[in-house]
């Protein structure tokens, strides 16, 4: 891998950038791999990268049905934080956040991780109570978290409407200074380039249409480009977890819903942190390009269509105009939808499946982007060792049988 740096850009400028190599190869699939990762999004590519980097397993293929990073990696609002309520979640997302903090250098790719802080607003006494509980738990779990009174909020975000006459006035907020946003596409590309450099084959336009089993064990996959053998298969196909699990006869507690988001036209900086309000369903940040990046709640019905209903966006824009009255004349430039796989407890499933050789990482709901490096890291461990890492050990499929759920939806109605 030719390393990226200011000097490499400068050097290449002398030759008009005519000699940059491909950032990843475009190989033909080999007949067999040690590990096949199904899904070339951020999580799948991260899994492949950490399999190679941490566990020395490089005979790996990532199979992507479309273009890499084209699923939810390309469709989210890029928020990164780790201020979750339950110990299990805090450990997982904090592990991920620590990886984010060194990710650009580790991947030699600027994923533009911007620790501009994430603020979760409270609008009712119940909100305040739940948020303080979460914030206190964060502190004891080593996750940075501050409680902000309205005056502190005003200082950090002067354009926020803190009027007590608001229908649901802002009563306070939790703030995670280390949280922020990242450039979503670059995360997929950075992991792809780094995994490719370790020898991982990234195969795009290759859809898995079947899981091949022999004697109760997964032995490979059938794809639109032919059968490929594999000792282990890891499914990391957000938006299609159920479809792939069904190929192995496994029923999941997952439902796939549309989740919509939008951006404004680019404007000069007005918002320097990430603002989230789960009570009135709006969250936004301003990208480095100047667009306000805004997310809504999930649509209520199952869908694989990558689009939702407009009234969901309208409700959320009413909330946004309430909270940010100076932004009312700005305009929506683009909107889009992703498919989110939602578990009943709003926490993911990361681990071994009831069929030997099959592993699943899915059900991240609306909040998977922030977990990208941590998710890949623990999933790589799980595949390499055929056993979960302590961090993802609680995130089993079995928890739905024992009842040991990790109920994050109660703690944050919107778990972005």
């Amino acid at each position: 891998m030719k390393r990226f740096s200011f000097w490499s850009v400068a050097r290449n400028a002398l030759s008009s950038h005519a000699h940059w190599p491909r950032q990843w190869r475009s190989p033909e699939p080999k007949p067999a791999y040690d590990v096949i990762i199904v899904g070339g999004g951020g999580h799948g590519l991260a899994t492949a990268y950490y399999l190679a980097k941490e566990h020395g397993i490089t005979n790996v293929a990532v199979l992507e049905k479309g273009w890499l990073g084209g699923g939810n990696t390309a469709r989210n609002t890029t928020i990164v934080r780790s201020n979750y309520l339950w110990d299990e979640s805090a450990a997982l997302y904090e592990h991920s956040l620590k990886l984010w903090e060194g990710l650009s250098r580790d991947l030699n790719y600027n994923v533009m991780f911007s620790q501009r802080g994430v603020m979760n607003l409270c609008h009712t006494l119940g909100d305040v109570r739940a948020s303080r509980r979460r914030s206190e738990a964060n502190r004891l779990n080593g996750v940075d978290s501050e409680w902000l009174e309205p005056a502190d909020i005003k200082r950090i975000c002067p354009i926020l409407n803190l009027s007590p006459s608001l229908r649901y006035p802002v009563m306070g907020a939790t703030f995670q200074p280390r949280g922020g946003v990242a450039r979503h596409d670059a995360v997929a590309w950075g992991f792809a380039r780094a995994a490719d450099a370790c020898g991982v084959d990234i195969i795009q336009n290759c859809a898995v249409i079947g899981l091949r089993r022999e004697g109760g064990r997964i032995v490979g996959v059938d794809t639109t480009r032919g059968a490929i053998d594999a000792k282990k298969v890891g499914v990391v196909a957000a938006g299609h977890s159920s479809v792939l699990a069904e190929m192995a006869g496994i029923r999941l507690p997952i439902q796939s819903h549309p989740l919509q988001a939008l951006v404004s036209e680019p404007i000069k900086p007005v918002l320097h942190t990430v603002i989230m309000s789960s009570a009135i369903h709006v969250y936004l940040s301003q990208s480095d390009k100047g667009e306000l990046v805004i997310g809504a709640g999930a649509d209520g019905y199952n869908s694989y269509a990558q689009r939702g209903s407009f009234h969901v966006i309208e409700e959320q824009m009413a909330a946004l105009c309430e909270l940010f009255p100076t932004l009312g004349r700005l305009r929506m430039l683009r909107s889009w939808g992703g498919i989110v796989d939602i578990c009943p407890d709003a926490s993911p499933i990361i681990g071994k499946m009831p069929v030997d050789g099959l592993y699943l990482n899915g059900g991240w709901g609306t909040g998977g982007f922030k977990a990208t490096p941590g998710s890949g890291w623990v999933f790589a461990w799980t595949i390499a060792k055929d056993a979960p890492h302590p961090i993802n050990a609680p995130f089993t499929l079995d928890r739905f049988t024992t009842g040991a759920l990790i109920a994050e939806h109660g703690a944050a109605a919107v778990a972005h």
Binding site: P21, Q23, R25, G142, R167, G328
Partner: protein, 992 residues
């Protein structure tokens, strides 16, 4: 001189209404009917702004929504709007507009230094650098990038304007009022169908407003006006000018934004459910890609025609036309007729229809076939075009320079397929027309005219009429197609794609996406680096991600990509189109759901009284509830202590009207309750009430409340205030979908009954005064009983329940008598110092008794047993959620259980949400094991200490243990105690 570039006559402007406006501080004049763009051109202003990345000077390049460059900030202060296209701003008196993203001005922009270093800024350069030092990234690089990015500025004060939503149903929606749309609307309207015709423009007619054609013996604009008049007279037709249909959603649901010229509403957002839709959205012209093709004065050929014909504005004095197709020749002739010197028509095709050559020679216009413009010269305005001979993919022979101040370009037409694609229609690349056009449409959508790849006027009108008629027919109307006689000197003719002009020199950027400064070299770099699918290319180079959404650049980029990867355009993929077609104002989407209408506030009949008393309110669900009633100068603690004391010692009065109430009737009502509550309900006698807990099917506590048996087959259920709607939904769901055999009906009566609650030892005296005929002795009206009675002359139903631990009567009267009862109770209670209390006091009193609040002591992971209510869980019967309670995790011995908590220092507050750890654990490094948390915490006037409820691991077996409350400012100690702090023997329930 005023409007120096305005033609002496012609155009669809109203010369009797001159308008003054300012651009970048300088005063200008225009006419009604102008856009800001046409008025600027009439004033000879071409340099409008700077580009995004390199800050190169840019001008107006188009006449419609496709213009990538002419972005302006309009207005000031609270009503300013950033990033409007000058082509989309109707000129108005006093309009003020400025360039965006320039410092200090568009003419002298210091950002232009970025252009000198452009070699260091290829596509995606920021992914390759700036990450060596996180500190530098955070403190230096990123702030610099952010400051450089963004176009205009947000307003600095709240938007004062109003926005409306409208909902509309129609048989046929016609989008676009150009020739195809007008023909379609006319055909559909004649059938009697309900028709809506919408167009972004304030004036219907589309391309007819700037073409020299004859329809039915009239000029294009006259014919258009006549059709519009005709449509306007029909009752079933609604015309929506200045209305952009921006989104095509499921089930033929389309959203449109109407811009209102004046009046109390700025914009109106239409939600149109159409049975059939005709798309007549036209096409956009593409530019050609050559070195320096971004200079002000370089303009789409069709735009030159439009500015001259529609606005009588002259975009230049000496023009060169550069084209790859027949259609663009019209602009040379129109320019020539308007007195512009046409120096040459440069056509990249080696062989061109000889008729076009003759036409040019008849006007003494030089015709260079097989030639291309290799470079445009000039900086703030084009000064000359360098011409070369095209041979295959090379330029041959000696270059020639032709001076010009207007370079018209045309690379062919791209149908506006945005809405068709949003409707899930499939597109295909048409080799002959060199464009993407609709291939396979979903049902209910008809594309007509240029948006369907039909470019000749006669064909456009015929296709429009056919589409309108068949749309009407599909909705059950009889429609016919009438054939119009058309005279048009111009045919669409032929085209030979030219995606970019080859260059041997590295000098001069060939721009593809003018707004994002994406050049051919950037696309080639992206492909070299492996970003060779259409979506990767767009994302890596940002092509098409601008406010123009790449209308002029997407197809060119695909063509260049296809060339670079050596595959046909049809195979490299198309772009996806998502809503909105053009940007939509946030405020318009929010509509009237603002302020008080953001979410309806539910108010009890005593609301006005509470307000008059100066109550402080809290939001509980949608309800406004008084939290406490401060007397002058009281803080909450003082007020609550006073309210608690009065209630415990004498009598308090509480508005409990918000409690959810459900009337349950039917022969199987008892069986039904037995299945939804955890405890048994079959033997509850008439006249009695009982407390019950409901679980979800997951076994977790879902709601609680008392339910009374009113008669053999009738029950009155109360729920929590916030949970009422959810409980009714939950009950209905099970009743209808799981147990349809049960004969039970449910009715919400929450807002039928106002509830005045009297609590405290003197409550009996107050009630006795109000209901003298009622036997209130403990024997005559026992705990958990109800009575119908006359209270203060009102028909009332009284429940003897208690959420305070005191003697308590909940008096229900019909909703509208709530205030009357309240007034009577206040008067009757006066001798006893009756004191109104709010939810905060209610919380304190119930917490002193260890009563839980669902949602406070529970969080969706709490079982009845966790709350110490295991005795209320029947072992004998099934109920919703019972099976879940025997799962392994619900039987864990270390589950968190409800306990009381007393700080070792009574003055020490233990804030709600505080985490609990074992003694001395707070000092350990994280993660610190947490054994529980504080759910409720108050000052108790009765106990003279702070006290809390908490959920603690194995808490019930730990009464007496001291633990640590891990407060942020340092730990404090607290003792685990029984959760019932006050009157544990229940002596006060029947009064003193």
């Amino acid at each position: 001189m005023s409007q120096p570039k305005r033609l002496a006559e012609g155009g669809l402007i109203d010369r009797s209404r001159p308008l003054s406006f300012r651009f970048n501080g300088k005063p200008y004049k225009g006419y009604a009917g102008d856009t800001l763009a046409s008025a600027l051109i009439a004033n000879g202003v071409h340099l409008v702004g700077r580009s995004f990345k390199y800050h190169r000077p840019r001008g107006i390049t188009a006449a419609g929504v496709e213009d990538p460059n002419g972005l302006v900030q309009v207005g000031r202060g609270a009503t300013t709007v950033p990033n409007l296209m000058a082509t989309q701003v109707p000129l108005s008196e006093g309009l003020r507009a400025t360039s965006v993203n320039v410092f200090p001005s568009a003419r002298f922009d210091v950002g232009a230094v970025l252009g000198w270093g452009s070699k260091l800024l290829p596509a995606g350069f920021y992914y390759k650098t700036f990450f060596g030092s996180p500190w530098l990234w955070r403190r230096v690089y990123e702030p610099l990038i952010r400051r450089a990015a963004g176009w205009g500025k947000a307003p600095n004060a709240a938007d004062p304007d109003r926005y409306d939503h409208r909902h509309h149903h129609c048989d046929v929606l016609v989008v676009g009022a150009g020739p195809a749309g007008l023909a379609a609307a006319r055909a559909a309207a004649r059938s009697g169908a309900r028709v809506v015709l919408a167009d972004s423009d304030g004036r219907f007619g589309g391309s007819l407003l700037s073409s020299e054609v004859e329809i039915e013996g009239r000029s294009g604009s006259d014919w258009s006006d006549q059709v519009v008049d005709l449509l306007g007279q029909q009752d079933e037709v609604r015309l929506l000018p200045r209305t952009t249909v921006f989104g095509y959603y499921d089930g033929n649901y389309l959203c449109a934004l109407e811009r209102l010229a004046d009046g109390p509403v700025r914009e109106r957002l239409w939600h149109i459910r159409a049975r059939e839709v005709v798309l007549a959205t036209g096409a956009h012209e593409r530019p050609l890609v050559f070195a320096g093709n971004d200079r002000p004065g370089i303009m789409l050929a069709g735009a030159v025609t439009t500015y001259l014909r529609r606005w009588a504005a002259k975009p230049g004095a000496r023009m060169v036309l550069f084209t790859n197709n027949d259609r663009a020749y019209e602009s040379a002739v129109v320019a020539n007729e308007a007195g512009i010197e046409v120096a040459a028509v440069v056509d990249s095709r080696a062989s061109v229809d000889p008729a076009l050559g003759k036409l040019l020679s008849s006007r003494n216009i030089r015709h260079l076939t097989g030639h291309v413009v290799t470079r445009a010269e000039g900086t703030k305005r084009v000064t000359a075009a360098q011409i070369g001979r095209l041979s295959g993919d090379r330029i041959e022979g000696k270059a020639e320079k032709i001076d010009c101040d207007l370079l018209a370009v045309s690379g062919g037409l791209s149908p506006a397929v945005h809405l068709f694609s949003q409707a899930q229609g499939k597109l295909a690349y048409d080799e002959t027309l060199a464009c993407l056009r609709p291939a396979q449409g979903p049902g209910g959508v008809h594309s007509a005219g240029a948006c369907n790849g039909t470019f000749d006027l006669a064909g456009v009108l015929a296709e429009g009429a056919r589409a309108g008629a068949s749309a009407a027919q599909a909705t059950g109307f009889e429609a016919s197609v009438e054939v119009l006689t058309v005279g048009s000197p111009w045919q669409h003719g032929a085209i030979e794609p030219l995606w970019s002009v080859p260059t041997a020199s590295k000098k001069g950027k060939r721009f593809v996406d003018l707004q994002n400064d994406t050049s051919v070299a950037d696309i080639e770099l992206a492909v070299r680096e492996g970003f060779d699918s259409a979506e990767h290319l767009k994302r890596y180079t940002l092509t098409g991600f601008g406010t123009d959404q790449g209308r002029t650049s997407n197809v060119n980029a695909l063509g260049i990509l296809a060339g670079a990867v050596g595959r046909p355009i049809g195979e490299v993929g198309t772009t996806t189109f998502r809503p909105p077609y053009t940007p939509v104002t946030f405020g318009a989407m929010g509509g009237r759901d603002r302020g008080d209408q953001f979410d309806p506030a539910r108010l009890t009949p005593m609301q006005d009284w509470h307000v008059a008393q100066g109550a402080v309110f809290e939001d509980v669900g949608q309800w406004k509830r008084p939290r406490y009633f401060p007397k002058s100068g009281d803080d909450m603690k003082t007020a609550v202590a006073r309210e608690c004391k009065a209630t415990r010692e004498s009598v308090g009065i509480f508005d409990a009207s918000t409690l959810g109430k459900i009337d349950i009737q039917g022969p199987d009502a008892a069986e039904f309750l037995n299945r939804v509550y955890t405890n048994g309900w079959k033997i509850l006698p008439v006249g009695k009430a009982r407390y019950g807990i409901m679980c979800g099917e997951d076994g977790m506590v879902f709601d609680d409340g008392t339910t009374a048996r009113l008669s053999d087959q009738r029950y009155f259920m109360t729920t929590t205030t916030g949970g009422a709607a959810g409980v009714l939904d939950h009950l209905e769901e099970f009743l209808q979908t799981e147990w349809p055999d049960l004969r039970v009906r449910l009715t919400s009566v929450t807002e039928q009954w106002a509830n005045v609650s009297l609590a405290g030892p003197r409550s009996r005296d107050v009630l006795a005064a109000l209901a003298p005929d009622l036997d209130l002795s403990p024997e005559g009206f026992g705990f958990l009983q109800w009575r119908d009675a006359q209270v203060a002359g009102l028909d009332a139903r009284i429940f003897r329940v208690s959420f305070t631990g005191e003697l308590q009567y909940e008096i229900n009267v019909p909703w509208h008598f709530g205030q009357a009862l309240w007034d009577a109770a206040m008067a009757a209670g006066e001798p006893f110092g009756i004191t109104p209390y709010g939810t905060e006091t209610m919380h304190v009193l119930r917490a002193e008794k260890g009563f839980i609040i669902v949602g406070q002591e529970t969080d969706g992971t709490t079982t009845p047993d966790d709350l110490g209510l295991g005795r209320m869980v029947s072992a004998k019967k099934d109920f919703i959620g019972k099976r879940s309670l025997s799962r392994a995790d619900c039987l864990r011995p270390d589950r968190k259980q409800l306990v009381g908590l007393l700080p070792e220092n009574p003055a020490q507050e233990l804030p709600e949400g505080s985490q609990l750890v074992e003694v001395d654990h707070s000092k350990r490094p994280p993660p610190i094991p947490m054994i529980g948390f504080v759910t409720s915490s108050y000052w108790s006037a009765a106990l003279e200490t702070n006290f809390s409820l908490a959920l603690v691991e194995r808490g019930r077996s730990r009464h007496g243990d001291v633990i640590e409350v891990a407060l942020k400012d340092g730990p404090t100690l607290a003792r685990i105690v029984d959760p019932v702090f006050y009157d544990s023997e229940g002596a006060r329930r029947d009064g003193d």
